[in-house]
Amino acid sequence: MRERRITLLVNGAPVTRTLAVESLLRDFIRDDLGLTGTKAACDDGMCGACAVHLDGAPVKSCLVLAVEADGRAITTIEGMGRPGALHPVQAAMAEAFAIQCGFCTPGMVMTIAAFLEDNPDPSTDQIREALVGNICRCTGYVRIVQAARAAAQAGRALRATRAGLASDPAGGKP
């Protein structure tokens, strides 16, 4: 088993670890870092439950080797919001009753948050397209799409009041 030492930013904090070169980023996050909010629900990159941000871009962490994150920054669901200070997407999901069992929720939050960064005013169909790689077996997606719409609206309102100076309250991303 070949090993390698990597250094990366995890939710803003520097981390150095030695790991097997074939470790998946997903398993590194869950098993080595103990950040179990990131979920594993499939073997073939189809479910999206493992989505995280790598240098701000959404990735399915089971499709990325941990060593590829060397020298980069990852944000997991634990870096998005806390009790009392939820990320706007988390708050919107809660408010819209978009969370049932919650197993898809971390991946949904990561996917939607990244999507809204690039698409602050998406149409409903664009949101549905954006979620196509994230499976939810409980909700039928209706309320998740609603939550994404609400979060987009809240984000636009926030930006308007802060005149474009808003920084991400979760601190996970620039």
Binding site: P83, A94, F103, R137, T139
Partner: protein, 780 residues
Amino acid sequence: MTVAARLGQSLPKVDNVALATGSARYVGDLRPAGLLHGRIVRSPLAHAMVLGVDASAALALPGVVCVIRPEDVADLPGFSLAHIKDQRVLAADRVRFVGDPVAAVIAVSEAIAEEALDLVIVEYQELPAVFDGEAALAADAPVIHPEPLDGVDGNVCWRQVCRAGDIDAAFAAADLVLRERFRTSKAHAMPMETHGALAEWDAAEEHLTLWSSTQNAHTLRDDLADTLGLARSRVRVIKPYVGGAFGHKEGLHSHEALAALGAMRTGRPVRFLLTRHEEFGATVSRNVMVRDVELALRNDGTVLAWRERIVQDCGAYASISPSVLALSEFVTVGPYRTPALDIQGVVAYTNTPPAGAFRGFGNPQATFTRELMFDIAARRLGLDPAEFRRRNLLRSEDLPGTTANGLRLQTLPIGECAERAMAAIDYDGLRRARIPWRGVGIVNMIEWGGSCRWHPGYDADTGSVTVTMAPDGSLTLGTDAADSGQGHATLFTQIAGEILGVRADQVRVVMADTDATPWGLGTYGSRTAVVQGSAAYRALTLLRDRLAVVAAHLLEADERDLVLEAGRFVVAGTDRGVPVGDVAAVIHYDRSALPPGMEPSALVVSATWDEPNEIPDANGRGSFSGNYSCSTTIAVVDVDPETGKVTVVDWACAEDVGRALNPAIVTTQLQGGIAQGIGFALGEELILDESGTLMNGSMADYQVPTSLMIPLMEERLIHVESHDPVHPMGHKGIGESGITPPAAAIACAVFDAIGVPITSLPISAEKVRAAILARVGSQR
């Protein structure tokens, strides 16, 4: 939050923050020190004798701690979710499907456990296998369970009839008799979290703890303890957060027993997490049913009689398939006047992955069959499908009353459901529009709106709640109910707010922990709100009465004059009152302030609800559920005539919910169920090759609906409130209501669009295209 949540409000889910932030722990997220990982060696053959298991190479692999072989568990008794105890922890001498557990490897990492799987050498002697329920009933079919089993005869696992009225006279009087064969598919529940269990054995205390992704902590505890030969009180089952269940996380499974055995043998915590492939191939799926129907009609569309023969495939093990067949038969004639029926069904063993409980539990198959049959009849008679149904629906003058097969109906607002669904989607306008390749399907269904007394082995249909009030008036509510996303903790919080005026931040709900919560059958069917919800109502009402006695004494008032307002007992019409928390403190601490003769005490009240229903008789007659609900669903689809692809473009559903205790949760339960039902209708099906090997056991290959496949239904999901008199809060169970109608509604809509009924599920693009081509061919 300063005021108590009440019933009828859409209180946001109380576990939202844990779920949204990823801090909620599922069984795969637990990280005890010294954790070992188990994997199961599964049969590659569909039917074979197991001649021997050689684990020496696996044990030689560094990191492998132990291997559990069939001979290690040969003395353990058989188990099952229901009464036919045909499963073993490991297949003793015979494997019966591709995926049957043969041995287990326990290692220091999942990777090593996986690597060791191939090093366990199993010697098999292959046997002829059978993969189809009807073929399994042939005289020369290989017998899958030759061992003596309760009531099993050859490959006949179970027989079930449902008969009423004079069937022969009804057929003799018919103007028209129609015959058709229907077939349903082997769909899989596919919760996002696969099954998993983690066991810890405390040798000094002789106590086993099992965290499991389960729906029934107590019955799992009982079956596990019995299997291991431990007193039931020496086993604690805890349900952590569960990532969806949908009926197929019921009862004891091999991996749970293997985790326990592994922990007892190694002295370390042991976890088994099923892979997605194992989840598809080795956990229960929906029963395939082949249903041959004969329908007797008058020329005006009146249904006179329904005759049907059903062969239901349960796969290699019975699980709860007998009950699936029974319930399917009991609801077959739906919310319609049907004077005579004769349904005879057989559950057949085959060498396929076991089938059993999956949300809907036999009703999706029954509803698909009946409603498509009705459309075939309506077309034959030249009647609009809605009009054909209207002529046969149960009417308000039939209520309260008893159906031909003995269902006691109190409220069943099916006429209102039909009217409101049709108005919501402008049914008449859709009919007039006549857009080519667009189809409209309208279907009705009846559903057990309560819980069902059809669990062979129990003449009890119970759930329990214990409420414990702390001296400050805050409340712990413990129950056997096992949430897997439905929002149970939120519901119990609302019930507590309604009855005791406690705020959400004063309530802690503990679920499905056998050392901490009272015994009950757990969560399945649509039962939790009606069974454990009614138990909570009882327990909280008793607690309130106990508090009121003391409050009245403190206020020097008559108990009957007290009202509860904003967390205080108040003498009605005055401002004299005492906070509930002060009353609770007095009860715990202050004998001198208590009424004479009363001693200080803990404030603990338990209550159980046994659903008022009955076990049907030998003819399948009886009211198996506490109450019944109904719905009307209208689906609008577009068919692409080139490819046969079906797209759902609009949806309306009016559902009898009794009373919506949390309207947002009701709506989202319906949305989720409808989405699963659309998947069942259009594509979900486990496919086996000719050797019985699963061909599509991955998320890429087993396509559940994505965000693009589901219409954004919201305002056309209508709650019809019939205020059920059976349950004290007036509601009905709705957990399964969403998933049942879609296959029927889409089948009827596709029939409307292409003029040919697709009588086998799923309604794949290939079948639709073939049907269109055949029709075009026949018209030439």
